[in-house]
């Protein structure tokens, strides 16, 4: 199998080692007007068509796995959501379920706590998907739709803020339960907002399927067939757009997803339009789920938080969850102390890179932004700043602490920063 993909094991530094027939090479990133994310794409072209695409990653290693080994299980509960800027609740959900299982209290978590966790996860899926198809419209040159979707996204952001106290980082979950309750007044306030949003998302879907200017941009672009998808193992909406109907909420249910009425969305066309429609339908599905969860919360009871000892007994366990972007998998090893022995995080974007490179083969260069966007790339920010003094050319590297401290001093003594 390696032979099929051997071409991409080539290193390209100066353009000398290129695939057969390529006459132009385009470099995208790590800093590029299109890409807010630090990844380096190398695209080989013959005329206007892509012959082959390549990627380099690793521009923002933050050393989180190492940092987690130096902190306690309890402290890590609040470090883990920082793995991703948008899907923070899902990372936290995977983490707390893993630790609960290692501590042996996974049965004691009450129904109410589980429902609140699910609410947080689904609300996050809604706002993540809306963000994504807004930016997709922007990349396809349809800025009106971008503004409309982002305006409507504020509705769900307000609900999340009302319930958790923060817009994108709800941080509701704790080992053994949840931190805050979702009282009836808040549920009553949220219900009409959710119904409004359902109408709006249905309208977005109508635009995406009927407005020819955007359909032409997405249809039959970057087709990934089911056979190819099985080889390059994409996950999440990328896979469900190519006819692989696997959603971890269905295939390996966690929390109470098997108790709630919902459907897996999948399309078989495999183009960018299919992945868009998967996300649009999933948004609607999630919004309906939110309504069901609020209904169930009226009768559900139970303690919100179980007491858990800080020391976690020896063992190892793997948990997965369906993040908005795909499959999120954590593997944790405990050694009997209050700190983890080893903790491994794999966020969904890394698993989808192969599929995206495969999508690009033979496409027009003008379709690159849409295809690159199709898997919802999400890397995260660095922790180190380099300051260059322009007049002298002198450079200094500072850690975050020093940077903050310097900024503080500059303000206090009313001096220029440098």
């Amino acid at each position: 199998m390696a032979e099929d993909f051997r071409s991409r094991f080539r290193v390209l530094t100066d353009g000398s080692d290129t695939p057969l027939g390529a006459d132009h090479h385009i470099f995208i990133g790590p800093q590029h007007p299109w890409a807010e994310e630090p990844a380096h794409f190398i695209i080989h072209l013959k005329g206007e068509r892509v012959v082959e695409a390549n990627i380099r990653i690793g521009f923002n290693l933050r050393g989180m796995e190492k940092a987690m080994e130096a902190r306690t299980w309890r402290q890590n509960t609040m470090l883990i959501p920082r793995a991703c800027g948008i899907c923070s609740a899902v990372h936290q959900n995977v983490y707390v379920r893993l630790v609960e299982r290692l501590a042996g209290i996974e049965d004691q978590v009450s129904e109410r706590a589980k429902l609140i966790r699910m609410f947080s996860c689904e609300a996050e899926r809604v706002h993540s998907h809306m963000l994504w198809y807004g930016i997709l419209a922007h990349d396809a040159g349809f800025d009106t739709l971008f503004h409309v979707t982002w305006r409507d996204r504020e509705i769900i952001m307000d609900i999340v803020e009302d319930i958790s106290g923060n817009r994108v980082n709800p941080a509701l979950m704790l080992i053994g339960g949840v931190k805050r309750d979702l009282p009836k007044e808040k549920a009553d306030k949220a219900r009409p907002m959710i119904n409004d949003l359902i109408k709006q998302v249905e309208y977005h879907k109508k635009v995406f399927t009927e407005e020819t200017s955007i359909v032409n941009r997405l249809e039959n672009v970057g087709v990934l067939t089911k056979e190819d998808a099985k080889k390059v193992t994409p996950n999440g909406p990328t896979a469900r757009g190519s006819g692989l109907p696997y959603d971890i909420r269905k295939t390996f249910p966690y929390e109470l997803y098997d108790d709630i009425d919902w459907n897996v969305v999948y399309y078989t066309e495999g183009d960018v339009l299919a992945t868009t429609l998967v996300r649009l339908d999933e948004t609607l599905e999630s919004l309906r789920m939110l309504n069901q969860i609020l209904d169930r919360l009226e009768t559900a009871s139970g303690e919100l938080l179980q007491r858990v000892k800080p020391r976690i007994s020896e063992g190892k366990y793997m948990t997965r969850a369906e993040a908005p972007r795909g499959e999120d998998i954590h593997y944790g090893i405990a050694n009997g102390t209050d700190k983890p022995e080893r903790y491994k995080i794999r966020a969904p974007s890394l698993g989808n890179i192969d599929a995206t490179l495969k999508r690009m083969d033979g496409e027009y260069i003008a379709d690159m932004p849409v295809i690159l966007r199709s898997y919802d790339p999400c890397f995260s920010c660095t922790n180190r700043v380099m300051i260059i003094n322009q007049s002298t050319g002198e450079k200094k590297i500072m850690g975050q602490d020093e940077f903050a401290r310097r900024a503080i001093k500059a303000k206090k003594y009313n001096r220029p920063f440098f």
Binding site: Q75, T77, D162, N166, K179, R405, R406
Partner: protein, 157 residues
């Protein structure tokens, strides 16, 4: 373009002209759309309830709390405000419910003040640590900050 389409577009244009701008000034927006009552900001301690057990210092993920104490009734807890990420762990694990996350929206405005005197804050002082000792500590912290500035200046010259 057909005549009908032109007419529709023209109507929209006139309608939007009459309506005026949709965007709002930030102060107007805040009035119409206030932040929710229970947003999370920095922690506060009720001094009478606190028993100086140190749990909040131990569980804080960002190490932004620290304490100095002699015994149960003598001690103080400091908070480095810009470093606190408002996660609420200190509230969850406090055995006496002495610490709670403040819900004052206006607090968030002054958070990134970049001023040493405001960044380091003593959120709890008990017994003999009240007053004089706290002042001394504050002076120490500011002095430390001044030292770093000197270092940076040496680097620049």
């Amino acid at each position: 373009m057909s005549k009908k389409k032109l007419l529709v577009m023209g109507r929209e244009v006139i309608k939007n002209q009459a309506k005026g701008p949709v965007t709002l000034h930030i102060s107007e927006r805040l009035e119409k759309h206030p932040p929710p009552e229970d947003i999370r900001t920095i922690p506060r301690i009720i001094e009478e309830k606190c028993i100086m057990c140190g749990t909040c210092v131990k569980v804080c993920p960002t190490h932004c709390l620290w304490m100095e104490k002699d015994d149960k009734d003598n001690g103080m807890i400091w908070l480095l405000r810009p470093q606190c990420m408002w996660c609420g762990h200190c509230q969850t694990y406090c055995p006496k419910d002495a610490i709670h996350i403040d819900r004052e929206p206006s607090l968030s405005v002054s958070l990134f003040s970049f001023n040493v005197r405001q960044d380091y804050e003593m959120i709890c002082a008990k017994g003999s640590f009240k007053g004089e000792k706290a002042e001394k500590k504050l002076a120490e912290v500011i002095e430390e900050g001044a030292k770093t500035i000197k270092e940076i200046e040496e680097f620049r010259s």
